[in-house]
C-alpha cells in the first residue's frame, strides 16, 4: 500500500473521499488516469473546475442551475400552479425521469431532525411558504422519503401550508409496479391495502 509515490497516493486518497468509492476502486481509477495523455487530464480537470464555477443553485427552487433560474423554473410550458417538494437535487432527476410531472419543484436540501439540530430555517421552509402564498400555488406535492424524518417534515409542512389554502398531497406508497403480490413483504402489502383506492 505504501509503496506508491506520494503524488499517486494523494490522488488515491482524494478519490476515496467520493461516495461509493473504496480503496480498491480508487486505485483502479488512478491507474487508469495514469495512462491518459496530458491533454486528456487537462480536459478532465477543466471539467471539474468548470462545474464548480458554473453550477449554481436556482434562486427559486434550489435545483441545480447554470444561471439565476434553473431550466425547469424558466420553462414556460410547465404548470406553474404545482410545486413538488423534494429533499435533494437528485430527487428532482428521479421525478423528471418519470415524465409524469409537469409542475415546478422546491428542493429542501435536508429534513427536519432535532437530533442534528435541523429546524425549518435550515431546510428553507419559510421560503416555500412565502412562495406558495405569493404565487397562488394550487397544489403542493410532498415527495419525501418515508423515513421518520421525512414523515415528520411532511407533517410539519402540512401544518404550515394549510393556512394558505393550497391542496397538499403526498406520494402514494405500496406495491411496486410489476411486482407480484406473493413476493412483497407483509408490511408493504398492509400499507398498500390501507392506501387502496377505487378503480
Amino acid at each position: 500500500m505504501t509503496a506508491y509515490i506520494k503524488s499517486v497516493e494523494k490522488l488515491i486518497n482524494e478519490f476515496r473521499k467520493l461516495p461509493g468509492i473504496g480503496p480498491k476502486s480508487a486505485r483502479r481509477i488512478v491507474f487508469y488516469l495514469l495512462k491518459l495523455t496530458r491533454e486528456e487530464i487537462l480536459e478532465f480537470s477543466k471539467a471539474l473546475v468548470e462545474m464548480k464555477d458554473k453550477v449554481r443553485f436556482c434562486s427559486i427552487c434550489f435545483n441545480l442551475s447554470e444561471g439565476e433560474m434553473c431550466s425547469i423554473c424558466s420553462d414556460a410550458t410547465r404548470d406553474r400552479k404545482k410545486i413538488c417538494v423534494v429533499q435533494n437535487v437528485s430527487d428532482v432527476t428521479v421525478i423528471e425521469a418519470t415524465g409524469e410531472y409537469k409542475g415546478l419543484y422546491y428542493v429542501l436540501g435536508g429534513l427536519l431532525s432535532p437530533i442534528e439540530d435541523i429546524g425549518p430555517e435550515e431546510i428553507r421552509i419559510p421560503g416555500l411558504v412565502k412562495r406558495v402564498e405569493s404565487e397562488g400555488i394550487e397544489e403542493v406535492i410532498l415527495a419525501l422519503n418515508p423515513t421518520v424524518e421525512g414523515e415528520g417534515t411532511a407533517m410539519y409542512l402540512k401544518k404550515v401550508l394549510q393556512p394558505t389554502g393550497t391542496r397538499i398531497t403526498r406520494l402514494a406508497s405500496g406495491l411496486p409496479v410489476g411486482g407480484d403480490l406473493e413476493y412483497v413483504d407483509e408490511l408493504t402489502v398492509g400499507k398498500a391495502l390501507s392506501n387502496r383506492r377505487e378503480i
Binding site: 431532525s113 432535532p114 437530533i115 425549518p120 430555517e121 410539519y156 401544518k159 413483504d185 407483509e186
Partner: protein, 414 residues
C-alpha cells in the same frame, strides 16, 4: 406437528448429539451445568433464530470450534438447518435450500419457552411486562416491530428537541421550537398504534388468562388490565378513569366509560374506533400537561414506553400482594396465553419448552400443568430432580422418551 429429530454440532457444550422424538412429551434429566437448558435453547433457536438467553451469537458456538450446526426434522413438514459462524451471521436452509430472509423460517417450528426467569414479568419492573407484550406481538403481528421501531425513533427526536428547548435563549435556530407540535403529533400517531395493539392483545388473552388461573387455583376473581402511563402515576385506583378496561362484550372501554358499561351490548367496531380517538386526544393533552416536567427531566414521561399492565387476583395487585407461588402460576398462565395466541395466529401447534419449571411447583399444580400440556403438545421438560417426576406417576400423562444429560452427552434412559 412435532419435532422428530434434533441434531447439534458444536453447539454450546455439545460436540455432536443426535436425538429422535415421538409426538409424546420428552423428559430431560441431569445435574446442574450439564447442558439441559442448552438443548431447549437450541430448539428455541431453530424456532425463532434467537436465543432466549443471549444476544451474542458466538456464545452459542462450542469453544474451539468455528461454526455450529443445528438441524431439525419437523414431522410432516421440513428439514430445517441453521449454520452459525463466529465471523458471520446465520445461514438458514430449508430442505437443503438456502433462505434469504429470516422471516422465511421463523415459525416453521413454533415454540414457546418457559423458564424460571419469566417470573420477572410478574414480579419486577414494568419494563419486563412491556417486553413480554412486545415479544408476543412481534411473534404474531409482522408489522408490530416496525411500528415499535418507528415510535422509538420519533421518541428520540422529541427527547433531543426537549434537550435543545431547555436553553432556548442560546438556541442556534429558535425556529426548531416551532416543530415541537409536529413531533408530538407524530409521536402520538405511532404511540396510539402501539397502545391499540397491546390492548387488543390483552383483550384476546384475557378470558384465557382467567380460565388458567381458575384451573390452577379454583379462584374465579382474577383479571388482567392494561395501564396507560398517565394512569400509573394516578396511583392504584382501579375504578379510576385512567385504566383501559374491558367489558365482557370484548370492546374496550376507556376512562369514564367504565362506570356505565353495558355488558349486553354487542361489540361494535365504530365504538372501538371512537375510543381510540379518545385515547389519542387524551394522549396529546397529557403530553402538553407534562411539558414542564418533560423539559426538566429532558425526556418524555408519557407514552407506551411507560405503560404497564396489572394482574389482579381476588381484586389485589399480584405484583405486590401475591405469594411467590401465586406469582409463579400467574407467570405460567401468561405463558400459556402466549401458547394459545401463537397457536391461534399461526395455525400451528407449538412445541413447548419447560426449563426447570416443574421443580418450582407443588405436586397439585405440577399435575395440573402436565395434564393440561402433556397430551396436547410435544413438551420438553428439563429437571435436575428425579423426584419431581416420580410425583407425576399417577398423573394422566406420560413421557414418550426420557434422556439423561451428562457433561455434553445425552443418554436414553428409562
Amino acid at each position: 406437528m412435532y419435532l422428530e429429530k434434533l441434531e447439534l454440532r458444536n453447539y454450546r457444550n455439545y460436540e455432536h448429539v443426535s436425538l429422535e422424538f415421538g409426538s409424546d412429551s420428552v423428559l430431560i434429566l441431569g445435574d446442574n451445568g450439564q447442558g439441559k437448558t442448552n438443548l431447549l435453547e437450541s430448539i428455541y433457536f431453530l424456532s425463532t433464530g434467537k436465543s432466549h438467553r443471549t444476544q451474542n451469537q458466538s456464545e452459542l458456538i462450542n469453544w474451539g470450534a468455528d461454526y455450529s450446526i443445528l438441524r431439525a426434522v419437523i414431522k410432516g413438514s421440513h428439514l430445517l438447518e441453521i449454520e452459525l459462524r463466529r465471523d458471520a451471521g446465520i445461514k438458514v436452509r430449508i430442505d437443503k435450500t438456502y433462505q434469504k430472509r429470516k422471516k422465511d423460517f421463523v415459525f416453521l417450528l413454533p415454540a414457546v419457552i418457559f423458564s424460571p426467569d419469566d417470573l420477572k414479568v410478574v414480579k419486577e419492573s414494568p419494563s419486563n411486562r412491556r417486553d413480554f407484550l412486545d415479544e408476543v406481538l412481534e411473534k404474531v403481528d409482522p408489522a408490530y416491530a416496525y411500528t415499535k421501531s418507528r415510535y422509538q425513533k420519533v421518541l428520540l427526536q422529541r427527547n433531543s428537541l426537549l434537550k435543545s428547548l431547555e436553553n432556548i435563549g442560546q438556541l442556534k435556530n429558535p425556529g426548531i421550537a416551532s416543530t415541537f407540535e409536529t413531533w408530538n403529533e407524530y409521536l402520538v400517531n405511532y404511540g396510539v398504534k402501539i397502545i391499540e395493539k397491546r390492548v387488543s392483545l390483552i383483550r384476546m388473552i384475557r378470558d384465557k388468562f382467567k380460565e388458567y388461573i381458575s384451573y390452577f387455583f379454583g379462584i374465579d376473581k382474577s383479571d388482567i388490565i392494561y395501564l396507560l402511563s398517565w394512569g400509573r402515576e394516578a396511583g392504584l385506583d382501579y375504578q379510576g378513569e385512567n385504566y383501559c378496561n374491558f367489558p365482557a362484550d370484548g370492546g374496550f372501554e376507556y376512562g369514564n366509560f367504565a362506570s356505565n358499561s353495558n355488558s349486553d351490548s354487542r361489540y361494535e367496531l365504530d365504538k372501538e374506533i371512537n375510543e381510540i380517538k379518545e385515547i389519542k386526544e387524551r394522549y396529546l393533552s397529557k403530553l402538553e400537561e407534562n411539558l414542564d416536567k418533560d423539559l426538566m427531566l429532558k425526556t418524555t414521561s408519557i407514552g407506551p414506553h411507560r405503560d404497564d399492565f396489572v394482574i389482579l387476583l381476588g381484586g389485589r395487585d399480584l405484583r405486590f400482594f401475591g405469594s411467590q407461588g401465586q406469582q409463579r402460576i400467574a407467570t405460567l398462565s401468561l405463558k400459556l396465553c402466549e401458547v394459545f395466541l401463537v397457536e391461534e395466529k399461526t395455525s400451528r401447534t407449538p412445541v413447548l419448552l419447560l426449563d426447570d419449571v416443574l421443580s418450582e411447583l407443588d405436586l397439585e399444580r405440577k399435575k395440573l400443568l402436565m395434564e393440561m400440556m402433556g397430551h396436547r403438545f410435544q413438551t420438553f421438560v428439563t429437571t435436575a430432580n428425579i423426584n419431581s417426576i416420580e410425583d407425576l406417576k399417577d398423573a394422566k400423562m406420560r413421557f414418550g422418551k426420557k434422556y439423561m444429560v451428562k457433561n455434553g452427552n445425552v443418554y436414553q434412559w428409562d
